[in-house]
């Protein structure tokens, strides 16, 4: 027996995908809740949804799609052995994550300033359908924002390991799995965007 550490890239990737499926069902459940309440309160949802900031939503969609491109390119770059490029691409992805969260901060500040937040006097005085809409909005988008934060941190750790040389063309499953997680964050937003910003 050699003293090489055990390594199973296929298993590591399978584990990551299984985890992503649970995430899919988690957000799927929230989307299901949204559509069930939309069927019950179509008018109130339409009124509340019309107040959403389309510009922020569209901008953040473009940012996340672009960050997904950058991290996918990083996976290509590591296999070509271009370490500097990998670091630049990961840096770009993390920057996108930060800009996304900053936009979210601006958007939520604007909404909270108008008295729109869970259990606010304004929403409590309004029709129940509207407060349901905003509660689901804060829950879903907040949970997604948490995933952006976790994904950004994960990719920062991956970038550090690339810099140390622990992740390289011969062993990059950690980068691949980090990228998969980041793509999931993008995937979830691809559905949040039309549901909350567009269809109402």
């Amino acid at each position: 027996m050699s003293s090489q550490p055990h390594r199973d890239d296929a298993g590591a990737k399978l584990g990551m995908w299984l985890f992503l499926f649970t995430e899919l069902l988690l957000f799927g459940g929230l989307f299901l809740l949204y559509s069930a309440y939309l069927a019950r309160y179509p008018h109130e949802f339409a009124v509340a949804g019309a107040r959403m900031h389309l510009v922020f939503g569209t901008l953040n969609t473009v940012i996340l799609i672009s960050s997904s491109l950058l991290v996918a390119m990083a996976v290509t770059a590591i296999q070509k052995g271009e370490r500097r490029t990998v670091l630049l691409l990961l840096g770009g992805t993390i920057l996108c994550a930060a800009v996304f969260l900053f936009n979210k901060y601006l958007e939520w500040s604007a909404e909270i300033n108008r008295g729109i937040y869970p259990d606010s006097p304004r929403l409590n005085a309004g029709p129940p359908g509207e407060s349901v809409f905003y509660s689901l909005y804060y829950l879903t988008v907040g949970l997604h924002g948490l995933h952006v934060l976790v994904g950004g941190t994960l990719l920062a750790i991956v970038a550090l390991r690339v810099r140390q040389g622990a992740i390289h063309a011969g062993n990059f499953v950690l980068l691949e799995n980090g990228a998969l997680y980041w793509h999931l964050v993008d995937l979830v937003w691809i559905f949040i965007f039309p549901l909350y910003y567009l269809i109402l």
Partner: protein, 96 residues
């Protein structure tokens, strides 16, 4: 010992950029469609565009296209379960 890992398919920068452009185009399209005021049709249109975008991300960015049968089947099962959840919930909501 290191087992021989399955060969990785390296997707070129150019192909990834093309997918990105397609995703940007679909984002523009979905915003445009939503401003047309075509009633219930745009809900299904928006969801169809979102599903297409998700398919592109999964197939190319997440490289599902180049994965083996196991992962593809697992993805199918996960999506099927989600579809059953959604289907049964609406069956209950609409016909109770």
């Amino acid at each position: 010992m290191i087992m021989t890992e399955p060969k990785h398919h390296i997707i070129g920068y150019g192909s990834l950029t093309k997918i990105w452009l397609l995703l940007l185009f679909l984002t523009g399209l979905t915003v445009w469609v939503s401003r047309q005021g075509i009633g219930i049709g745009h809900v299904w249109g928006s969801l169809a565009i979102a599903a297409t975008k998700a398919g592109l991300v999964i197939a190319f960015f997440m490289q599902m296209r180049y994965e083996g049968r196991l992962l593809r089947w697992l993805l199918f099962v996960a999506l099927l379960i989600l579809a059953i959840f959604i289907g049964l919930t609406f069956f209950d909501l609409l016909y109770r």
